[in-house]
Symmetry: C2
Subunit: 329 residues, 2 copies
């Protein structure tokens, strides 16, 4: 069996308390004693039992990260940012993929409770966000990408209104007249981007055929295919997608049907995923500060833990319009 703290104490000729003190660097220990203990630890290859530490101290030093799917580049990057920040503070991360499935969300939230996590960073579906009641939980929650009910938890989001407006205005400037948009139906984010997009276009007298779809490439693909089949005076001359997954599906559909960008139809969207820069022409996007979003979420969480009663804060980060060939010369 692995050595226990008691074995270390005996071998070093001190009490377990003293060993505990040198482990946590907390409490007074004579330097010569500390060295001796450290030596024994090294020699026995002692590793404190994390489960015992957590049980006894009541501090699990664990962050729960609940996202729809790490394979979405947005969440891949967020997860890396959260993990970097967490490990740097001696905390661990439990990553959960919900696949936008409310049952999985509920299940993982239960898991977080069993784990007695220190805090949770959470990207809820629209439905789950609506129902979410922070008072139910013993740990603080920071929402990312999608905000929950206003003021109920801390949150880090993109400035969706601004970004969607900039995208719309860019299309107007470039002279597009029949703009169509695909928006994720599972998130507040999709709704916010939708509202701002439609509003901005209407202000400029440009028609906006915006639709909500399941947040998967396939859904976007199907919708774009249908649009391309329309009579030419009904067919959109510009298409926007509200996240990287939908943008990918839209792009694939355009390619497959031989639609040339931007001549036959322009394309733009959210998320500066790697491929958007690599294809020809490049795809105009709103770049989100992805790593920053994750990093800031951890910061909000840390501050909340330090000061639980502080009033809730929503951090709104700016997106950056990256213009590429898909929306004009």
């Amino acid at each position: 069996m692995a050595p226990r703290i008691k074995d270390v104490a005996e071998a070093a000729g001190v009490s377990v308390t003293t060993v505990s003190r040198v482990l946590s660097n907390n409490g007074p220990v004579r330097d010569s004693v500390r060295r001796r203990v450290l030596e024994v630890i090294e020699q026995l290859d002692y590793r404190p039992n994390a489960a015992a530490q957590r049980l006894r101290s009541g501090d699990t030093a664990t962050i729960g990260l609940i996202v729809s799917d790490v394979r979405n580049p947005f969440f891949t990057e967020v997860s890396r940012a959260v993990e970097d920040a967490a490990y740097a503070q001696g905390m661990r991360v439990i990553l959960c993929n919900t696949d936008e499935n409310p049952e999985k969300e509920a299940m993982y939230l239960r898991l977080m409770e069993s784990e007695r996590v220190t805090g949770v960073i959470y990207s809820p579906t629209y439905e789950a966000a609506r129902r979410f009641d922070a008072r139910t939980y013993a740990f603080p929650v920071v929402m990312i990408d999608r905000a929950g009910p206003a003021g109920v938890t801390d949150a880090v989001t993109l400035d969706n209104r601004d970004a969607a407006t900039r995208l719309a205005e860019h299309l107007v400037e470039r002279g597009y007249k029949r703009c169509a948009g695909l928006f994720g139906n599972a998130s507040t984010t999709g709704r916010e981007r939708h509202a701002a997009f439609v509003e901005a276009l209407q202000q400029h007298g440009v028609s906006a055929a915006a639709e909500f779809v399941d947040p998967h490439p396939e859904a976007a693909h199907a919708r774009v295919t249908a649009w391309l089949a329309a009579e030419s005076d009904e067919r959109p001359d510009a298409i926007v997608a509200s996240n990287g997954l939908l943008l990918l599906g839209a792009y694939r559909a355009l390619r497959e049907h031989g639609a040339r960008m931007p001549d036959d139809v322009a394309l733009a969207g959210f998320d500066n995923d790697a491929w958007t820069d690599l294809v020809t022409p490049g795809v105009t996007v709103i770049a989100q500060p992805v790593y920053e979003i994750g990093k800031n979420a951890m910061q909000l969480l840390t501050q909340r833990l330090a000061e639980p009663e502080m009033s809730t804060r929503t951090l709104v980060l700016p997106g950056e319009l990256v213009v590429r060939g898909s929306t004009g010369a």
Copy 2:
């Protein structure tokens, strides 16, 4: 405070033992009693304390997953596969990014020991793999992508020799005469692919200028830039990259220098990452069964836990050559 098992027991008028029995579905409990206990659990919103369960039972139900960087699409997919399989078995996973840094690898391995993990799935650097001594660890390890010392642990890898040979022969068939290759210097995988690639080319009398580089896009970018600057009779007419990251760097360099594929220079590599299919021309790749690799790693681990003394196994999965425009019409 959150209710404890004792609270549930008292409210249900039974002993904690009985509650424990219904929680674990293990041991005899009268049906009427079970229902009553379940009711109380629901009513009190009781969640068993995972740390206490782990400490007492000695079973952490935790898998460690150590990779270089989840942002590498290969590992993104592997991590999703491992998480799916783990959660399906009621296990949790701790994900660690080493950035190919031996110090981080050592640190995370220590963390795994503290966590008393049930098992580890590990993609070591070349150096760490060489030094790795399975006997040091109380938990079984399954290596992925890169194998450790032969027969020391279970492992899941690609058939690197076969894949690299197929890639080389494809280039020969297409008539390329001066093939250059970029191989990751931090993994056994890079070495295996290198050896097979060079060997296959030489058998066909084709020159092979193969080099080892740091496994980052930037390193590949720099090397390819240098190759392009060479005298035209020295310049390679085909370039191969031994993983998705290097392939991306190589592709970027070719684009930036206006090299047309495949006319000026052909390009091929490993990993069927999303962008390789989206760019024009598409990039010829060896597609790895990525999700399968993760899934199989969990299976080997599960079997090893069931039968610790079984002799070690290496699962070798075939790659698939996906021919696209970057290596010819």
